[in-house]
């Protein structure tokens, strides 16, 4: 696939480390002793059949679930047990498999809420229009409009999120996540429901996101697409990590082939 992964990957800084992560729901073990890491500036693919635990893994990283066992470290410090908004403010952002925008807010306002993660304007500052409010408001708007333009949504800025087309909603979610100025951005099946051409476009977009300096964790079940865009891939099946490596390694891995064998690609979402 891409030749640009020739650099000795192991020497790069680790943004996120998942360490022996286990997550149980009652008797169900959704994640079982999963260990992997993400290096700065890479696109890591997290793949696996439906129900493998990919979304659960995102939920654990972003603080929705507390790990049953194991640890999650972001830039070296453990974030297991942190509050969700604190994890976001530290620099982890995400999108959702089922689109979850603030539907009756405009596209711009959605992105502004993301940008506000880095702001601290409070009641007094807003009420008296103190310099902090003005500065943050200006910076937030500029950044939000930049991101909307980046996603090709600048013309839709004042449209309600609920009124956007499906594809635009997906892209708006990415813009909102990017607005929180994360170091790591987690995309949960951002291409779900897209046709092949749209998917290819989105993958190109994701590559450009990475080129802007973000580290990307991507859930996507379409093997071919993942191969084209990711630097490394982690494969989950029934909550267990069954393989990890470069796209080329993963493609030829018998365990992965077995996991995906007979699974219709569209069903595997």
């Amino acid at each position: 696939m891409s030749e640009d992964q020739s650099t000795t990957t192991s020497s790069r800084r680790r943004v996120l480390e998942i360490d022996a992560l286990t997550l149980q729901f009652g008797g169900l073990t959704a994640l079982d002793d999963v260990t992997f890491h993400i290096e700065e500036g890479e696109i890591l693919g997290l793949i696996g059949p439906n129900g493998a635990g990919k979304t659960t893994c995102f939920n654990a990283i972003t603080g929705i679930y507390r790990p049953t066992r194991g640890d999650i470290r972001f830039e070296g410090t453990s974030i297991a047990g942190h509050k969700r908004f604190q994890i976001t403010q530290l620099g982890v952002a995400r999108t959702f498999q089922n689109i979850r925008l603030f539907r009756s807010m405009t596209a711009l306002e959605n992105v502004l809420v993301g940008a506000d993660a880095k702001h601290s304007t409070g009641m007094a500052s807003a009420l008296f229009r103190l310099p902090k409010h003005r500065r943050e408001e200006r910076e937030g708007h500029d950044r939000a409009m930049e991101l909307l333009a980046f996603m090709g949504l600048q013309k839709r800025a004042d449209e309600l999120a609920a009124n956007l087309s499906y594809g635009d909603q997906r892209r708006l979610e990415i813009a909102r996540a990017m607005a929180t100025e994360p170091k790591l951005i987690c995309l949960d099946e951002p291409a779900a429901g897209f046709n092949p051409a749209e998917k290819a476009q989105l993958m190109e977009l994701i590559r450009r996101v990475r080129d802007q300096g973000y580290t990307v964790l991507l859930i996507e079940h379409d093997m071919k697409l993942v191969m084209g865009v990711t630097d490394r891939i982690v494969v989950l099946e029934f909550g267990r990590k069954i393989a990890e490596g470069t796209p080329a390694e993963i493609r030829d891995n018998p365990a992965v082939i077995a996991a995906y064998l007979g699974v219709d690609e569209e069903d595997a979402s």
């Binding site: 506000d116 009641m123 009420l127 409010h133 708007h141 500029d142 333009a149």
Partner: protein, 383 residues
Amino acid sequence: MSKTPSVKGITSSFGSRVAGLPKPAKIGMWIALAVFAYALPLLEPPFISPPGTDFGGVLFTVTIYMLVALGLNIVVGYAGLLDLGYVGFYAVGAYTAAILTTFHANWPLLLALPFAVLASTVSGILLGAPTLRVRGDYLAIVTLGFGEIIRLVALNTEWLGASKGINDIARPPGVELFEIPHLNWDSGTPLLDFNDTTTFIEFGVLDQIPYYWMGLTVVIIVLFADKLIKDSRVGRAWEATREDEDVAELMGVPTFRFKLLAFATGAFIGGLAGALYASRQSFINPLSFLLLFSIMFLAAVVIGGQGNRWGVLVGAFLVAYLPERFREFTDFRVLVFGAALMLLAIFRPEGLLPPRRTVRAKQAAAEIEALEEGADGEETSRV
């Protein structure tokens, strides 16, 4: 890390829009509206001014409802927290003003006012801190209980005047500068009536108009504050929390803190309204703070259109004014009110003046529905 701006030009058009001042014509219109509002009780327009009652007094009540509706709108409309005991904060404000100005101390009203507001805000924080962690339905029940507890405490505490209540609550300080004549419409054409004047500005027993002016002024100030807060990070955080609390939290909004802030702000305004009300009444007892008032306050917000500050002002006006204007139908008041609410629920479930965004979302939904109907008949036949 270089998160380089990819497109620069687009942002400038927004900057110019923000910087562009509203047109002078617009400002002129608002000033004219304000002048008309201040002059309304002096004009005594024939059909509008209620027969047999003091127009100024009715209008004062309207401004108190407006204040309360603006405060409750922050809690219910912006942050999406159902508060069924808002009268509790109103009562805390009123009682604090009462005991500080007459019952246990002799402070002037203007000194007591900040303490009344402080007390209601603190009560809002004390109530909100444990309860805002739980979701919707519980909050409604807890706040309902709070409103009743405040009233029952007042009813059963000698220190708060018990059932007899508290008399002689201080009035605002006045300076008697000049007399303003009212209009007289008896001859069919409006004439200045120099026998019927209002003293600017004396807070007396008979003439309620100065209280109305005070109430209106506070409403205008709160209206400005409301706009400034709403158009900021705080307002966006409230809305995001209302839309989807989990996602808001995941986008870096400390939702609990902002819900508590909404609650405290609402309590602040509620307490202020209560204290002003107590000062005008000069007498309060537990009957002034029945559960019914919580419901009327909420009705004002819902009827007007929660989430829209102008909508809730209209709602407050209707809820406070109509019963006074049509006093002759007092016996049917509850019936008419109930029927009106039902009609509203059927024809305008979002209130008379819903926020623009709700209107737009509804329009879009209708368009999509129309499209689907054309494309796919059997889907829609179920609806």
